[in-house]
Symmetry: D2
């Protein structure tokens, strides 16, 4: 399969998601998070971040069932679309091409159901919009300035990584155990920690979409605003510092339960020999550098994805070990210091701060 | 009792705590948190914050059992010590005065066991040290610049508040329920939200001592450093935004389990008619504005306190309702929106983010 | 004169200024700086900061000539107004009392022309408004949270300090030279570096009014917004770090040329023996800790003040040395290192970064 | 010349500079700025940023005369070195290749004198060192986390841009006037605003080398520390917000006068159709978004560069118009609002805040 050349992907560009109530979603993404409206009509909202110059980073489309319609990547040139077609046809995937584009503002596009069951899109042609980087009069305290990455749930992470490496992605970090099980992997095209990540679990599902802020206080401002609006229950996890990626993070749930991350300050990964970081699944600081426990819903929940006809993709169960069960609950454990065999201090016993105490 | 004039208290000034291993405590308070060493010897460490000009804000004294030896307040003038003596003698409290001071660097001092059983100290005379506010070459990313407040656990909060008001303190905020139970109260002399707070529980015990930073990122830097040192299990709760006080906070536990808060950005309270803020005990945003659950140890644990002879004070149990039981667990509940009677969204059910689901 | 007791002043509370175009001033103070409108009508705007609970911190009143009508302080009790009357009458000052208040929202008030020629006001009674500290949905990136201080221009600083000390103020910092000339002094009631400062120059004039933000990035956000609005010429000086006060600062000029400071992170000064800081007028880091030169307009410009009938107060010229002439220009000098007698590095010669090169 | 393929450059990687006193330079770059020492000996210091994994981002080599010995770029593969040789030989440039590398830690390298007279280096092979991104216990308040870019002074900017575009760089922003004169241009390989920029002036000279921080307060912390060390005269310009690049910036001068920028928060530029931003040379916000004037030394000063034998390269004078003369001084002008023909407000006249008033 190596003779089929992969398209040259620039970056994750936008996600199209199905929401059940456009007005509620608008309140969340526009009024609260401050995404910029490029276009809106009865059927859909097209939103972008302050530093974006392409038409949109997020499409909210009205539908019956919350789901993800497309994970969309921008490629380097129009010719890369032909490569995308060939790449997926060689893998026996369903491939559709629409010279008019599948969403407003985007031209010639290819959509496929990829080998893991995800609806992937590739495009080059796109309408430009004003980059609002300098429009500080329009910025809010929690300004979202860039789409940073996607995160996908799939049962077989190593298989997904193999395919994504064929597609030209590089692994920057992953979570493993000493028996060789891989629990999650982060992969990039643009030189950040990731454009997408694969999280082990029943899939295909979407784990989250992530937007970047400039500074950490911007993320705190989003939480403060949600508190003021009495919508703090939209906060699922964080804010905290990731071990993986070293970024400062926050996870929200939108009105349909779609998970949105706000993220800032990972590191440059653009060199071919960029050292990949491998985290032990039992390391209590891998998911949160401060050892704050991951809430169970963060492990278990995800958004269903659609096929190219708009039907919900069936789920495949994960057969490999589950990260949640490996690290919390009766059979799991995690450590702060690998060498530490001592008892916990008395004041720590019975707390859920350590995974094995939950 | 109103005819006995209270001493004019300026502010909480320092705490003297007993630690079991000076070297370990030094590593925590000096090497990690960056408190400035004013003096150290075989028996004790005298530490201050970067913006302090008095000899110390914290004394760590070596002993067998972790405990608090004194909550010490500075008064406006030497004459206020006489008032302190009279104030406590009128209440039948044990009172000792030491013209040489009870700790290094402090002159004429009064120590009492107060009506709630706490070892309180008052002093005016103190050695000055260089205020290191401008010494930015010595500041660390998580610079602690000021002692902000104490927090005490006591079974009968209204009784404690009455006594503290006699002593000249003013309530700025409290947590109550509709039946009139008071769960906690915040009281100030200097015009911040508090110099000390009363937290309902078995007492007398010390809940925490709090130091201030300038900005929120300074608090994040402390967590990041603890992660780098593989000491993230010192983080008990947070960082987060308090509802009460509106401050950004973090709770740590020192090597003996003493609780230390790092705190920034509450508000001015110095006017006599400063509006007190009353929080409903069931309001899910009272303790954390973002609705993040309070870890149980934060409710249950505290440091014992000493009498004037260095013996551990016996505990009195709280007979009023417990905040933890009122808000989490089988019988308790809390809400994000008072008017909200709907079911939680499906993705929220089964999570411990909401107190009543724990 | 010491037998006349001074009123117990809590803090600087608001300033009343005359502006020539209410719409333009509203655009500056409300649309750009985000002050909260408590009330507005054809004649005046009443504005407060996000954390304020009294009716206003700034009154903008329409008039022919830009000027300051009142520097207003809040006192601890209604009885302090009687003391204020007595205090100023004993000094032969013009004193007026209005039980209805001189501005909307304020009750019984005393206005005087003080010994330096400034229109000072004192009040206790005031309408309360909602403290918007928790209203993060309404905060902007450059949120002004508190009125911090006034700054006044007067020809004889030591004389002004003597009078202010009689009035109960304490000096926290000043700028002097080795011959004993005092160029400026900072004085406080609330325990910050100042409620007002005296700047040497032809007076009485108002140098600036200062509002506080929580963090330094809030001040940067104000500049970024002014740039986006193509109003960066409202920025007169900074942002930078003060030597005096250790605060991070910015100076703006409003549409009438009134100077507004935005200020954050000075230090606690509430102890009676708080060490005063004396700066050498030749110290290049006194006005800006980074040695950035002070623009000449900052030294020379100020707003005229009114008497109690609304007439412009005449100016008295400063006869003592001028700080600007002492430190910049042909005859002045300033140093970065007091001991440094070497030549400047070649790349520094001819630059205006050092005052003596201007 | 287009048939000769350019090497695939990843990013600016390090600069080698000649300093006259290693101890003084170490104090500046290591003790003050906190760069990490990878290696040091009698002749040279090899320094890297906290997030770097290659051997160094800066080499300080002891010598008689301050100068720049190499602007070094990393290429994607060993084969790109052959392309680099061919690329420069086709242009008649002096080319040297050293399989052992020209500096410690770097393997096979090519050095050339490029068509503008600059000593450029290309390498792929390099020793790895620990990426200290997570080593927060070692970070200082002003942590430099990444080498961001170089900036070069050359007399003919359009000619330099043509050559750099042949070399694979893309212009992201530039400064022009309506007559077509180009004053400066910013060009990138990695998807930030630049890996290097061309500044019009007598050249070849090095204008500055720039390191990135995570947040704006990190840059402020560097200034605060320089103040505390009484070295604030190392601050040449800023901190401020650039118009070009939208980054927050600071310019320092090292003990030899080499200029160092600290820089944070520009934007993603990695798409081929990334919109280039053209600034009018008369726009007062182009160099500083807040309109703060550029100090003349910033326009006039730069470091000389060496040829491959270590001799100072001769200067070629700029014949095109000078940005400084076009915008400040008797004949120049700049505007805050292009449409603004009004007189300045009175309080602005005579100030040097506006370029045309200097």
């Amino acid at each position: 399969m190596t003779e089929v050349q992969a398209p040259d992907i620039l970056r994750c560009a936008y996600m199209e998601i199905i929401v059940t109530d456009l007005a509620k979603s608008r309140e969340f993404y526009v009024d609260t998070l401050g995404l910029v409206v490029t276009h809106e009509d009865e059927e859909a909202l097209y939103l972008r971040t302050y530093e974006e110059f392409i038409h949109h980073n997020l499409v909210l489309r009205k539908g019956e069932t919350p789901a993800v319609a497309a994970f969309s990547y921008r490629v380097r040139s129009p010719e890369d679309l032909d490569k995308a077609v060939a790449f997926y046809e060689a893998r026996g995937c369903e491939v559709r091409r629409n010279p008019e584009g599948f969403t407003r503002g985007i031209g010639d596009s290819v959509r496929v159901v990829d080998p893991m069951g995800f609806p992937y899109e590739f495009f080059y042609d796109v309408e430009h919009r004003e980059r609002l980087a300098w429009a500080y009069d329009a910025h809010i305290p929690g300004a979202l300035v860039r789409l940073d990455h996607f995160n996908q749930i799939t049962p077989d992470v190593p298989k997904a990584v193999d395919y994504m490496e064929d597609l030209g992605f590089r692994v920057t970090e992953d979570i493993r155990d000493s028996e060789g099980t891989v629990y999650a992997a982060w992969m990039r095209r643009k030189p950040t920690v990731h454009d997408t990540a694969m999280t082990g679990g029943n899939g295909p599902r979407m784990h989250h979409i992530a937007f970047a802020t400039h500074e950490k206080h911007n993320i705190i401002a989003i939480c403060d605003k949600l508190g003021a609006l009495r919508k703090s229950d939209a906060i699922e996890r964080g804010p905290g510092r990731h071990g993986v990626s070293n970024a400062y993070y926050l996870y929200l749930r939108d009105p349909d339960g779609h998970r949105v991350e706000v993220y800032t300050q990972d590191y440059y990964t653009g060199d071919p020999d960029n050292p990949a970081v491998h985290w032990d699944v039992h390391d209590n600081q891998r998911r949160d550098w401060w050892g704050t426990p991951v809430v169970p819903s963060w492990y278990t929940d995800g958004s269903r994805v659609l096929d190219l006809d708009g039907n919900i993709q069936p789920l495949v169960e994960r057969s490999d070990a589950s990260e949640m069960e490996k690290t919390i609950g009766a059979d799991g454990f995690s450590y702060t210091r690998p060498e530490d065999e001592e008892e916990l201090p008395e004041w720590k016993q019975g707390e859920y701060k350590l995974g094995h105490q939950l």
